[in-house]
C-alpha cells in the first residue's frame, strides 16, 4: 500500500464510521463569546467539553499580561532555548513553578505533550523499562516509544496487577520508570497514589506523575493529586500542562532531583523546538498566581462537577467511578454515542465524543468537562438536556 493509499484508507474508515455531514472531529468554531460560549454554524453553543477547569482563558490579569508581553517582546521567540537563549519570562516561570511545588527545580516546555515526550525520553533509554498504566494518555505512550525503553503496561489503577508486573522484572526494577496520572482523562478517576508510592519505594523504582488534569483541580493550592494526598516528596517527577487549568499552552516538570536540569542537554523534544512565546509565558505566570489563590474557583468547579455527576447518575447514565470535573457517560456502541453527541449538539451543548479504540474497554464515551466559569443556569440547562435525551434516545 502506498503512502497516500494509507491515508485514503483512513478517510474511508472515517466515512464508514461517521454519518454523512457529521463533522464531529473538526467542528468549526466561528466566534468565541466567552469562557463558556461560542458560535458554531451560526448557532450559540455552550462549551461543556473544554478543559478550562478554572475558567481562566478570559481572566483580565492573564489577558493584560499577554498583551504587555507582546508589546514588549514580540509575538514569538523564533527559536529554541538552547540555540536562541532563554527570555526572562521563561526563567521566571520555571522559578515560580519550583516555588509553587516547593521543589528544587523546574523546566518549562512548549506544550504539555512535549513535556511528557521530553521527560520520558530523557529519563529512560534502551536498556531501561517503563511501566505505565493501561489508560495512559497518548503523550505518555509516544514518550515511551521515543525513549527506546521496554514498555510494559499494567491494568488501569490495579495495584495488584502493577506489583505483579514489577516483580517479574527482577533486578531491573531499579532502572524502571513508573508513569501514572493524577486524574485520568477518559473517566476522570484518580490514581491510587499512596499504594503506588509504597510499591515503587519497595522496588526502588522512579515515579513520574502527570498532573495535566489535576493541577488547579485537586489540593488546597491546586498542586494536584500530590497535594491532596500529601505525598509530594514521594514523587520523583511531576509533569503537567498549561492548556487546561492555566488556560494557555505549554508544559512543565518539577522535581527535587538535581539531575532534572541535565534533561535540557539530552532531551530532543526540549532541544529541537521553539520556546514558548512571550505572551504564552506571561499569561501562564498570571494564571499560576490565580490558580494558587483560587480556592473559590476550585469550590465552584467542584460544586458544578458534583451536581452534574450526581444528576446524570440519577438519570441512569453509566458514568466513571468518581465525581470529577471530567464526567464521561459510557455507551455500549459508537452509534449510541454519536446519537447522544449529535442530539446534545443540536440542543447547543458541545461536548467530546470518544470512539473505540480510543475509549477504554471497547466502549464509547460522550465526555463532559465542567468549569468554574459555568453558571448554575448553564449546568441546569445541560442536566435538563441530558434528562430529555435519556427518555428519547435510550
Amino acid at each position: 500500500m502506498s503512502l497516500l493509499d494509507k491515508l485514503d484508507a483512513v478517510a474511508a474508515a472515517r466515512k464508514a464510521l461517521l454519518p454523512e455531514g457529521l463533522d464531529v472531529f473538526g467542528t468549526p468554531i466561528e466566534e468565541v463569546y466567552s469562557t463558556t460560549e461560542a458560535s458554531v454554524s451560526g448557532r450559540r453553543i455552550l462549551f461543556f467539553g473544554t478543559n478550562n477547569y478554572l475558567g481562566l482563558t478570559f481572566a483580565p490579569e492573564c489577558l493584560q499580561a499577554a498583551h504587555k508581553a507582546i508589546d514588549r517582546e514580540g509575538t514569538g521567540t523564533t527559536g529554541s532555548r538552547m540555540a536562541n537563549g532563554s527570555y526572562s519570562g521563561h526563567r521566571a516561570l520555571e522559578q515560580e513553578f519550583a516555588d509553587f511545588y516547593h521543589c528544587l527545580s523546574s523546566i518549562v516546555f512548549t506544550t504539555g505533550y512535549q513535556a511528557n515526550l521530553a521527560m520520558i525520553s530523557g529519563l529512560a533509554g534502551a536498556n531501561d523499562v517503563i511501566l505505565i498504566d493501561g489508560d495512559s494518555h497518548a503523550s505518555i505512550y509516544d514518550g515511551c516509544r521515543l525513549s527506546g525503553a521496554e514498555i510494559i503496561r499494567f491494568r488501569h489503577n490495579d495495584m495488584v496487577d502493577m506489583e505483579k508486573r514489577l516483580k517479574r522484572l527482577g533486578e531491573r526494577t531499579s532502572s524502571t520508570l513508573i508513569i501514572i496520572e493524577g486524574i485520568y482523562s477518559m473517566l476522570g478517576d484518580r490514581a491510587p497514589l499512596a499504594d503506588i508510592v509504597e510499591i515503587k519505594n519497595s522496588y526502588g523504582s522512579i515515579l513520574l506523575l502527570d498532573e495535566a488534569h489535576s493541577i488547579g483541580v485537586l489540593g488546597k493550592t491546586g498542586q494536584g493529586l500530590v497535594e491532596e494526598t500529601g505525598l509530594i516528596n514521594e514523587v520523583d517527577f511531576i509533569t503537567g500542562t498549561f492548556s487546561k487549568s492555566l488556560g494557555s499552552i505549554g508544559g512543565y516538570c518539577v522535581s527535587n532531583h538535581m539531575q532534572l536540569d541535565q534533561l535540557r542537554y539530552v532531551s530532543r523534544p526540549y532541544i529541537f523546538t521553539a520556546s514558548p512565546s512571550p505572551a504564552t509565558i506571561a499569561s501562564t505566570r498570571a494564571a499560576l498566581k490565580l490558580l494558587r489563590d483560587g480556592t473559590e474557583l476550585r469550590n465552584k468547579l467542584w460544586k458544578n462537577a458534583r451536581k452534574l455527576y450526581s444528576c446524570l447518575n440519577n438519570q441512569g447514565y453509566q458514568l466513571g467511578p468518581d465525581p470529577s470535573p471530567i464526567i464521561a457517560t459510557i455507551l455500549d456502541s459508537p452509534q449510541q454515542a454519536m446519537m447522544l453527541w449529535k442530539s446534545l449538539f443540536d440542543k447547543g451543548v458541545y461536548v467530546n465524543l470518544i470512539l473505540p479504540p480510543a475509549a477504554p474497554e471497547g466502549k464509547s464515551l460522550v465526555r463532559c468537562s465542567v468549569s468554574a466559569a459555568h453558571t448554575e443556569e448553564q449546568v441546569d440547562y445541560v442536566v435538563n438536556v441530558f434528562a430529555e435525551l435519556r427518555k428519547s434516545i435510550f
Binding site: 523499562v129 493501561g134 527506546g148 521496554e150 514498555i151 510494559i152 503496561r153 517479574r168 473505540p356 479504540p357
Partner: protein
C-alpha cells in the same frame, strides 16, 4: 510449567478466541489484525493476558514485527526461553 512451541500455540489460540471479533478458525498463519480484527488496543490487552498466562514480560514495543499467530507464539517462546 514447561512450554514448547505447540503448547504455546494452543494456549495462545484459547486467548485469541476471547479477543477475536470474527468466528474464523485460528491457525498459525492467521493474521491478527486483518483476519481476527484485533485492533491496537485489543492487542495491548491481549499482551497483558499473555504475560500472566506465561509469567513473562512482553514489551509492547517489540510487537511491531508481530503479524500472525505464529509470530506471536515465536515471540512468547523466545521470551520464555530467555527468562528460564
Amino acid at each position: 510449567m514447561e512450554y514448547d512451541h505447540n503448547s504455546i500455540l494452543q494456549k495462545l489460540s484459547q486467548h485469541l478466541g476471547h479477543f477475536a471479533s470474527s468466528d474464523i478458525e485460528i491457525t498459525p498463519d492467521t493474521d491478527l489484525i486483518n483476519e481476527l480484527a484485533i485492533d491496537s488496543v485489543k492487542l495491548l490487552n491481549l499482551i497483558m493476558e499473555i504475560e500472566d498466562e506465561f509469567d513473562i514480560s512482553v514489551p509492547i514495543n517489540v510487537l511491531a514485527d508481530v503479524n500472525t499467530v505464529h509470530d506471536l507464539a515465536d515471540l512468547i517462546f523466545k521470551i520464555k526461553s530467555e527468562s528460564e
